[in-house]
Symmetry: C2
Subunit: 485 residues, 2 copies
């Protein structure tokens, strides 16, 4: 098998890229493929390249690699383009939050009801959205038959925007639905006896069906919440699938919120740090509080450093093995203990030829290319799948993929009306406003987000915070874009 060309944009995002590479190595139908690693950060790119090659080598795979800092070159002749870039990096979001909080917008103007995820920005994130859109246009021009696998956020806004406007094959991919696996595990159930379904929008999915041995098993959720929340204490900021906030949302909406949906409740759970701690638990108050996000960013920074060190080590010791004692001693001894353990565990799992990463991108590519039917949860245009939601809204739903494309399963039972009318529709409208702002360049649409925001006290407040964010040096193009009206 000759394999295909797979482009990864933003490949410098090490853990994600290496998970994809690991999956590729373990997928026979994609052997011999060329992985084009593209990034604008030379150091990160080279480090990922070194490690990717090492993984492929130790897994005995015939995967090939190239690196490039040229977007067009990476996209050209690709069969699959995975976009996982973050334009401006995480530091841009910090700038936006800093300015926002001066004007009373706790956690940033982009923190909105039902969208509190700290790197899922849709208002101030023009550069990111523009870049993602441009990549889609380039695919249309250079590799019109390719599939765009949209991994970078905001997946909901981007999948809807690109699917509507750019005539290419594309799909939005996330992994939040694994929250269900977590729940099943916690319950100690036998996976094959569980019949479940999730549906909603990205970062807004709900467990719409949950049966055990053919019978409705919601009582098991009630029991699990009761048992686990007696002494509620998260093990890390991301540990929120079973939490007081999940329980509160479950009780009000009648279905369990899954994955990142738990982060995306109303302001009831997010007014300030004290409130977040009450609902998401001590000491962080969830990953999207100032404490939780700091924890995450510091960890990411450490992982980036370790990645560089590991790559450097292998460049200098090309015969060394990934999991040898010397390697461990030499390179990750300076990392914190829990991070060391975690990193080692990841390396081990990546090396396990049987264990895939849990990401869906390569499973999808394999299905589309080699007709290896697989069930997935993906983001595609609704087109009638969920009644009551417009056809041209990207929904996150259970599908199966094969050489003929992506086929949605029937949502049965349907999403409850309360979830549609009180959760999904408000979230969908904000996506529509974000797209309206982006496509028209009408600054007043950005203002409307904030006029309708619980943190706004006056129109002047709205104007000032937007002015100051637009004035950031990296936002020159955004400023021009929003000057038209």
């Amino acid at each position: 098998m000759p394999g295909v060309k797979i482009s990864i944009i933003g490949a410098g995002s090490a853990s994600f890229s290496l998970r994809l590479v690991g999956d590729l190595c373990k997928t026979k139908g994609l052997s011999g493929s060329l992985v084009s690693l593209m990034d604008i950060d030379k150091n990160r790119l080279n480090a990922v390249h070194t490690l990717a090659k090492k993984y492929a080598e130790e897994l005995g795979s015939d995967l090939r690699f190239e690196t490039t800092m040229n977007l067009e070159d990476s996209i050209k002749d690709a069969s699959f383009v995975v976009n996982t870039a973050l334009v401006g990096g995480h530091s841009y979001f910090e700038k936006v939050r800093q300015i926002s909080e001066k004007y009373g917008y706790y956690r940033g103007i982009d923190a909105q009801e039902f969208n509190m995820v700290s790197d899922y920005y849709t208002i101030s994130n023009f550069n990111q959205i523009k870049f993602m859109f441009d990549v889609a246009k380039l695919i249309e021009k250079l590799s019109p038959k390719a599939w765009l696998l949209q991994a970078a956020n905001p997946v909901f806004e981007l999948t809807t925007l690109i699917s509507r406007v750019v005539p290419i094959n594309m799909v939005g991919i996330c992994h939040g639905h694994h929250g269900v696996d977590y729940i099943i595990e916690k319950m100690g159930l036998e996976k094959q006896k569980v019949d479940w379904q999730v549906a909603g929008v990205n970062h807004g999915i709900w467990l719409t069906r949950f049966k055990y041995e053919g019978k409705d098993a919601h009582h098991l959720i009630d029991e699990l919440l009761e048992k686990e929340l007696k002494n509620f204490k998260p093990t890390n900021p991301f540990d929120d699938q079973i939490s007081l906030v999940a329980k509160d949302m479950y009780e009000f909406y009648g279905r369990m919120p899954i994955g990142d949906t738990v982060r995306n409740g109303s302001w009831k759970y997010h007014y300030n740090l004290e409130t977040k701690k009450k609902w998401f638990g001590e000491p962080w108050g969830g990953v999207d509080s100032e404490l939780g996000w700091k924890w995450y960013q510091e960890r990411q920074a450490e992982r980036a450093i370790i990645t560089q060190q590991v790559a450097k080590y292998f460049k200098e010791n090309p015969k060394a093995k990934l999991l040898s004692k010397e390697t461990q001693q030499a390179i990750i001894s300076t990392a914190k203990d829990d991070l060391k353990k975690e990193y080692t565990k990841e390396v081990y799992e990546l090396l396990d030829p049987e264990k895939k990463s849990g990401e869906q991108h390569i499973l999808l590519a394999n299905a589309l290319l080699n007709d290896e039917k697989v069930d997935l949860v993906l983001n595609i245009l609704n087109k009638g799948t969920i009644p009551g939601i417009a056809d041209d809204v990207a929904v996150e739903i259970p599908v199966y993929a094969d050489k003929n494309g992506i086929h949605p399963y029937k949502i049965d039972p349907d999403i409850p009306e309360r979830i549609k009318k009180m959760y999904l529709m408000p979230r969908i409208l904000r996506m529509e406003w974000a797209l309206e702002a982006f496509l028209t360049g009408d600054r007043r649409v950005l203002e409307e987000f904030l006029i309708r925001d619980p943190r706004t006290r006056s129109y002047e407040q709205v104007v000032k915070v937007i002015d100051e964010i637009l004035a950031l040096p990296e936002n020159e193009e955004m400023r021009k874009h929003y000057s038209k009206k």
Copy 2:
């Protein structure tokens, strides 16, 4: 012609009832009808009865009247039931506002973006909504072939609720679309050369088509706004069709907001009295500010007094005529000058056998009964008329009525996407939440309104204000209703 029985619930609302009576007197196809005046306020009922008989007499009509304080008796055998009651009266709203403002909810918890009209309450207004719903159920039981003409607010919520849940003929009726006539008059155009259309939801309609002599005439709106707003000063609190707020909404949404829609913008125009004055003009800041509403209520109170005085006079002087000098001297001499003039003008217009009131209720009844086709603007379920809005949402649209019922005209051109996605859908969702609250009795749905409200700072604030409103003595049934969960 034997005529039919027409029931007016809340007939004590004098000006509205007398307008209907005046129209009935002037509609040949409804001569000989029996008007059943129903109210729980004996004094108001009798006063309206006396005046209604006087009007019919002086107009030479053979309309018959009965009064009753029994709802079932009034509804039984009616062909048309006009519901214009206000359960709890305007003073209930004042109580809600007083409590609300203690907790930081300026102008009351029911004041919401896109619904700022001070007697269009949907959250705290359980008694009113329940009563309206019960009247519909009674019609289903006692006069299943009758038409319910829903005049009392909230027309949007009630028309949707009743149309969905109670299998009777019903329609919501308002008069906001007359804002277009006002605009045409101000422009000095010839009415018959203007081709216009409005569409949206009650109190949220927009001028979607505006042509003069076959050509688009939006430039005339631009010119009118430019000219009239040079020195912007409203003549009374209701004078807002041509205002700074109307202009701002027109510029953002691309179409002219019509009638009460102008009152129903975002918080941008309503943060506080100073803001309202800026947009709606001095000295009142629009009719929904504390000053504007006070002006309106004081005026209504004076009109009620005058009505009582006039009725008393005619009871004591049965041979006196409505417009004689003696009558004027005797009864309205104590009223303020401008109110005196206004009242006299109204009496005069009511007595003019050619001039109808401008209300649509009797025009509709006549069309349905006597197949006298007429073009109207009414509230009925969408059923595909406006694309992108669900079928079962009550929309306010141009229709024609005849003996076969009510027939919507095609909305052409369609309502712009921005209006649907940024104005109508948010308004529609709030209607859905209000219905969800009413139908489920789930107090947390009421809380959600406020959790999403720009005036809310904490969940405790939400709980306290709702607790205190539920604790009002008149809200015992509401309290029980919302205790279920």
